[in-house]
């Protein structure tokens, strides 16, 4: 059992467990946290799960938990691990079930005062335009053949279908298309689950929000991102729905035999993996990339729904109702990237599970418009509190394989939240604070109560203090739609 005392403090917000702490560790494990936050890693299985990731073959440098960490399955949430692309493994448990769950930020040309008189109508229109809830069908249905094209081409497919704009693709991680997608590695059941859910939010912690930019911390970078104080913006948080869940489920099961075949010893069966350069590893990557592309299209189709809702409600009432895309980031993904390790450029497969890419200035993967400042990082907070827009840094490239946090991070189980919070009361409280709420279930609302999460501002302060990203803007919610 790993204990807090085994971790040594390397910096104000960086704690490291040396690899000698457990015989099966191949590299050290690091937690990014304030002294107060660190305790939480030992109250659940976060620290143990983080140490487990440090045992995987080919793991490089050290594995990490971002400050929004909490217990997951296999990897902890907030977990980042980079594997040598030649000798390492790829693990579905390092990506999760909701493959390419992520966040999209769209910005309007409108100020808060122009939208407030129409906020309720706009929220209702968004609720209608963006299906949410358990098992809900999406805005579009595709044939099996179209699905094959969609999961290979990602956002490019949406562009061909008139569901995206060129500039949307330019402002999406990987331009909305992860290479290497192989539909032949996707099961019939995943296809069946995916065919009718494109353009749907789902349930759980997924949401759609209308926010106002409450504070700008870095005016120069905010200008590059097209953000200014008092501006109305929209966030979309969702992933690959049943399609991604099924792919993860399929491969966590099928790779159980791979670990035996390749003689890999793992401390948790959810950490099953296969060598990246093996038929099994390539099959998982090919299927996972399909789900990544599916999720990019899902958010893209929802984004067009958001644009339609803004048009339907605001046409003729405001000067410009259009929305432009600031960025779209993935936070459950495994990707091949080049990073510098001990002065050498190394091809690695970075697993980010509940973590966001945070590339700094100059990287070719960062959209041209942002390349001089670094990529936007979108960090949604808990419902009704605040969200942050950050910018990636050069230090993140050195410290965390260009990764940072993805949200506030839970501290309380759903059952505890339900004991403490009565959904209708919470709804009323949020509405008294001026928020417009549309939710499929008040129980679901209670489970996502702010008290169940860390304070996102504290998480962001740790990230900034460690140098993993810098604050650009804080957003305050005006309307929330939840499944």
């Amino acid at each position: 059992m790993v204990e807090k005392k085994d971790f040594r403090r390397l910096d104000k917000a960086v704690w490291e467990l040396p690899k000698e702490a457990r015989p099966d560790m191949r590299v050290p494990a690091r937690i990014f946290a304030s002294a107060e936050m660190l305790d939480a890693a030992f109250r659940d299985r976060t620290a143990e799960q983080l140490v487990n990731t440090a045992t995987l073959p080919g793991v490089l440098k050290y594995t990490m938990a971002m400050p929004d960490f909490h217990e997951g399955y296999g990897f902890p949430i907030g977990g980042v691990a980079a594997m040598d692309a030649k000798t390492g493994v790829i693990s579905p448990g390092g990506v999760g079930y909701d493959i390419n769950c992520g966040v999209r930020l769209m910005a309007s040309h409108l100020e808060k005062e122009e939208v407030m008189p129409h906020l309720r109508d706009l929220t209702n229109a968004l609720y209608r335009a963006c299906p949410s809830g358990v098992g809900e069908s999406g805005r579009i249905r595709v044939s099996s053949r179209e699905l094959d094209e969609l999961i290979v081409e990602g956002s490019r497919w949406a562009l061909k279908r008139g569901l995206a704009r060129e500039e949307d693709l330019a402002h999406t991680e990987e331009e909305g298309t992860l290479p290497g997608a192989d539909p032949s590695k996707v099961s019939a059941r995943a296809r069946e689950r995916g065919g009718d859910q494109i353009g749907s939010l789902g349930a759980g912690n997924h949401f759609l929000e209308i926010d106002v930019v409450e504070e700008i911390f870095d005016p120069e970078v905010a200008k590059a991102f097209g953000l200014q104080e008092n501006q109305i913006v929209v966030q979309i948080h969702c992933g690959s729905r049943g399609f991604g869940h099924q792919i993860c489920d399929d491969y966590v099961k099928s790779l159980q035999s791979s670990v035996r075949k390749y003689g890999i010893s793992i401390p948790d069966r959810e950490l099953v993996c296969a060598p990246i350069d093996s038929p099994e590893g390539r099959a998982y990557y090919g299927a996972m990339a399909c789900a990544v592309n599916y999720a990019f299209v899902n958010r893209q189709v929802l984004a067009m729904g958001v644009r339609e809702a803004f048009r339907d409600v605001l046409q003729g009432k405001v000067r410009n109702y259009d929305l432009y895309q600031v960025y779209d980031v993935a936070h459950n993904i495994a990707k091949f990237e080049e990073h510098e390790i001990d002065g050498k450029q190394v091809q690695v497969c970075v697993h980010r599970k509940g973590a966001t890419r945070a590339f700094g200035p100059g990287r070719p993967e960062v959209p041209e418009a942002y390349r001089d400042v670094g990529q936007p990082v979108l960090v949604p907070g808990s419902m009704g509190t605040a969200s942050y827009v950050l910018v990636g840094t050069k230090k993140a490239m050195e410290l965390s394989f260009g990764s940072t946090c993805h949200g506030a991070g839970r501290v309380m189980s759903r059952a505890q939240a339900l004991k403490k919070i009565w959904g209708p009361d919470l709804k009323q409280e949020l509405e008294e604070r001026g928020l417009v709420i549309r939710a499929g279930s008040t129980k679901g609302l209670a489970e996502e109560a702010p008290v169940a999460y860390k304070d996102v501002s504290q998480v962001v302060e740790v990230v900034q203090s460690a140098g993993l990203a810098r604050k650009v803007a804080r957003l305050r919610p005006l309307a929330v739609i939840k499944g």
């Binding site: 909490h70 098992g135 759980g204 489920d249 159980q256 948790d268 069966r269 501290v411 129980k443």
Partner: protein
């Protein structure tokens, strides 16, 4: 949530920070599998509100008992997502470590508690105990 379905259900919810987890027990593998499925039904909806009018026959195989348990629960999760069914009655003819065959009955609940995405292998190990078998199952929500 209080477990009001039945005091002797053979499962209890245990704390998990973000997802949901159950401790499940049974006299033998068959009872363990049934109790895990009852736990899943309880997590998904109020089982008392379900009229078990739809029936499905299942025939599942897996390389070991843990994988079979994940496959069994995964099948019920899949049927919930595709057809909206929550299963509350289980007639299992055969539950071997590598094979399960039987009939499940369920219906559509009025309200859903959790959208369960998947049953995971996280910490999953079927252990012998004084009263039979026990395991914990973590569900991704």
């Amino acid at each position: 949530m209080e477990n009001s379905w039945d005091q002797s259900c053979g499962f209890e919810e245990i704390p998990h920070t973000a997802d949901v987890a159950l401790r499940v027990w049974g006299q033998d593998l068959k009872e363990l599998f049934v109790n895990a499925a009852r736990g899943l039904a309880w997590l998904t909806a109020d089982p008392a509100s379900i009229c078990p009018e739809k029936e499905k026959s299942l025939d599942l195989s897996a390389p070991d008992a843990e994988t079979l348990l994940v496959t069994w629960l995964g099948e019920l999760i899949y049927l919930n997502e595709r057809e909206g069914l929550v299963f509350t009655e289980f007639d299992l003819e055969e539950v071997m470590p590598m094979h399960l065959r039987g009939v499940v009955r369920g219906g559509r609940p009025k309200e859903t508690r959790h959208l369960i995405k998947a049953a995971t292998f996280s910490g999953l190990s079927i252990r012998p105990t004084e009263r039979g078998l026990e395991t914990t199952v973590t569900f991704d929500v």
